[in-house]
């Protein structure tokens, strides 16, 4: 067996026991690893009767066959669970070093079930597993516990939750390697619900590669491809992801003040150019990554990783804030408390609008940079209004009688791109299996950045095919697991070749993308089983009915309905968004549904 270790570790925190068993290799071939394998295991383990914050929910940590081989960006891992924020299938993935180190312990999968009677932390050292008392660690913030448990990037890596996860905030992240986050959808709350504070990994097993010569050559070619691409060799290292601020503002697709506008007059002040000129200390990178998009930034108060574009937008334009040092500092605070920055910022923005309109009695107002840090602290500790903010914008807005003011799909807050100026992006949000998310496909690449070619951002007809192509491709990449930025220099077909060289199993390009399609359909089946229907494939009324009154997207709303119909048809689903028997048979999923 090459690539995979062939072993699953399962820990039951209720009984404080663990066992290991072989990975089903047929399942591994069909779903590869990461997000795909996680979704397949979750299908069997967590049904619709399970409350996401109950002991019956599970956390499934997965790596992939490429992980820790040394292939470019093969450092990531995925965590799969039922989301306490959305109730959907959830996978969140993260870079850094932990994923690589986890693979080196000799396992492909770690399943954590049950609930410990008292706080614990888990240590896995080369397949030796210990469940340790964490009573004295409970309450510690992320930076402190990461240091205390011995973080050492290439040797020993710490994954943990902060106070937000302990206090079951539904937007709590799982943090690793100090400042990396598996953030979206609230996996940190699931970890907190199990009284699990941290998982520390230390390993020495490098995965076997089937065809070493071919693999070595493919790595060499990948290096050349990444160096030749202006995106991976210049754009990302030079300005990081925040460089998107000005262009999204320029085209009138930068969601502003809880999506009330599509351009922000303070965009320049929070741009990548500004960050680079005034606050950048140096670049950093994850394990085995030649791109190095991470920014180390510094203000008078903090120094650390980030902020990324989405974070800068969420606490910036979305909250009407143009104070970049305040944003850098609140980003650092979210990392230390273990909060999803996109959901945290957007939930505050929702509260700002509720307050300005008189629906919520608070001092929050757009532009109040001085209130961001306090809000985030209160969220993590569930103090005062923070107790309500801690569960995300949809629950907050619903409580105050205006669910339409939550800028989310299925309860997951959107990132920066306003879908009124980006029709395909709107369809992507509406159909994303984990809720309003930009990481399920890169329509910005097609509709704005011309990657690989520019298409009309306002076009409606025919958009679904592009969205589906991206969704399937991203699901495959998330199952390998590698960084999506690599895909900006290296085509899908290349990953298929690398996968073949590592595992010895020939994967044609079409087969790899078919894995992605299989994963997407399985996630859809999971959500359907949970009771989700086409009405959940939607966008907030604001985006469907309120056109911007000025700027380049003036007069446009999201024309979701015709795109959605076309999307279901192109996916091979019926008019209720249910995959047809023919589609399921084609993907080898029919036995799951029939129970065979």
């Amino acid at each position: 067996m090459n690539g995979w270790n062939g072993k699953i570790l399962e820990i039951d925190l209720t009984t404080q026991t663990h066992k290991e068993y072989p990975l089903d290799m047929e399942m591994a071939k069909q779903f590869i690893g990461g997000r795909g394998l996680g979704a397949r295991l979750l299908w069997d383990l967590v049904g619709p009767e399970v409350d996401p914050l109950s002991p019956e929910n599970v956390l499934i940590f997965t790596n992939g066959p490429l992980t820790a081989t040394g292939y470019q960006t093969s450092n990531r891992f995925s965590v799969t669970t039922k989301s306490p924020l959305t109730g959907t299938v959830l996978d969140a993935n993260s870079g850094g070093f932990w994923g690589m180190q986890f693979k080196k312990t000799g396992y492909d999968v770690l399943i954590v079930r049950g609930k410990s009677p008292k706080p614990v932390w888990i240590e896995i050292k080369d397949s030796v597993v210990a469940i340790n008392d964490a009573s004295e660690l409970w309450g510690m913030r992320v930076y402190a516990i990461t240091e205390k448990l011995g973080q050492n990037n290439n040797k020993r890596n710490v994954l943990c939750i902060g106070p937000a996860g302990e206090n079951l905030s539904r937007i709590a992240a799982i943090m690793n390697d100090r400042e990396r986050a598996a953030a979206r959808g609230g996996p940190g709350a699931v970890m907190g619900s199990k009284n699990l504070k941290a998982i520390v990994v230390e390993g020495s097993t490098r995965p076997e590669v089937d065809d070493k010569e071919r693999y070595k050559f493919l790595m060499y070619e990948t290096k050349k491809l990444l160096a030749a691409s202006p995106l991976t060799s210049q754009a990302l290292p030079e300005f990081g992801t925040v460089v998107l601020m000005n262009i999204m503002n320029n085209i009138g697709a930068l969601a502003t003040r809880n999506h009330q506008q599509t351009q922000f007059e303070g965009a320049e002040a929070i741009s990548g150019e500004e960050l680079t000129e005034k606050y950048l200390v140096k670049n950093a990178s994850c394990w085995a990554c030649p791109i190095g998009c991470t920014r180390i930034s510094k203000t008078e108060k903090v120094e650390g990783e980030g902020p990324e574009f989405e974070t800068t937008w969420a606490f910036g334009a979305q909250c009407g804030v143009d104070d970049l040092p305040a944003i850098i500092e609140v980003n650092s605070l979210c990392n230390d408390l273990g909060l999803d920055t996109i959901s945290a910022g957007s939930t505050i923005a929702c509260a700002m609008e509720l307050s300005e309109k008189g629906y919520l009695d608070s001092d929050l107002r757009f532009g109040r940079a001085d209130m961001l840090a306090g809000c985030v602290e209160d969220m993590a500790y569930r103090r005062d209004l923070g107790a309500e903010l801690a569960d995300g914008s949809l629950r907050l807005a619903t409580k105050y009688g205006h669910p339409e003011l939550s800028m989310s799909t299925k309860g997951l807050e959107f990132p920066a791109y306003d879908p009124r100026g980006l029709q395909g992006q709107g369809l992507l949000y509406a159909t994303s299996n984990r809720g309003g998310c930009h990481m399920r496909g890169n329509m910005i690449g097609l509709e704005v950045l011309g990657l690989p070619k520019l298409i009309d951002r306002f076009q409606v007809q025919g958009k679904s095919a592009f969205v589906i192509l991206h969704q399937n491709s991203n699901a495959a990449i998330d199952s390998l697991v590698v960084c999506k930025f690599t895909n900006m220099g290296v085509a899908d077909e290349y990953f298929a070749r690398v996968l073949g060289a590592v595992t010895g199993i020939p994967y044609a390009t079409g087969e790899l993308i078919k894995v992605g399609e299989r994963v997407w359909n399985l996630e859809r089946l999971y959500n359907n089983r949970e009771g989700f229907t086409p009405k959940d494939d939607s966008l907030p009324p604001r985006l469907l009915t309120e056109a911007p009154t000025d700027g380049p997207s003036k007069g446009w709303v999201s024309h979701l309905e015709p795109m959605l119909k076309e999307y279901y048809r192109t996916r091979g689903w019926d008019e209720n968004g249910v995959p047809t028997p023919k589609k399921l048979a084609d993907l080898g999923l029919n036995k799951l549904v029939s129970g065979g």
């Binding site: 754009a235 460089v243 085209i251 150019e273 704005v448 011309g450 520019l454 951002r457 900006m488 380049p552």
Partner: protein
């Protein structure tokens, strides 16, 4: 004259964030920009085989917007009220 805005490393190369250039089309304005700021040529234009400027052909992944709309057609007519923004290759999310 159309207003041209530059972003990311193009600002550093040109030494300015914005300028105004005369030209009847987007292509003509970009050519005028490169004439005024020759250092931008390597970032914006494809070089022809002889090493001379490549007939105004824009390098791949350079993004040009006309009044906030991404475009690829350099023959689009430009008026004095128009605003052109030029971005180097960029990515993120």
């Amino acid at each position: 004259m159309a207003l041209i805005k530059l972003f990311a490393n193009l600002r550093k190369i040109a030494g300015t964030k914005e300028t105004s250039i005369m030209g009847a089309s987007v292509g003509a304005v970009v050519s005028g920009l490169v004439k005024r700021y020759p250092a931008l040529e390597a970032s914006l234009l494809v070089r022809s085989p002889g090493g001379l400027p490549g007939n105004g052909q824009i390098r791949s992944h350079v993004i040009i917007t006309l009044n906030g709309n991404p475009i690829t057609d350099l023959n689009l007519v430009v008026t004095e009220e128009d605003q052109i923004a030029i971005f180097p290759p960029m990515a993120g999310g």
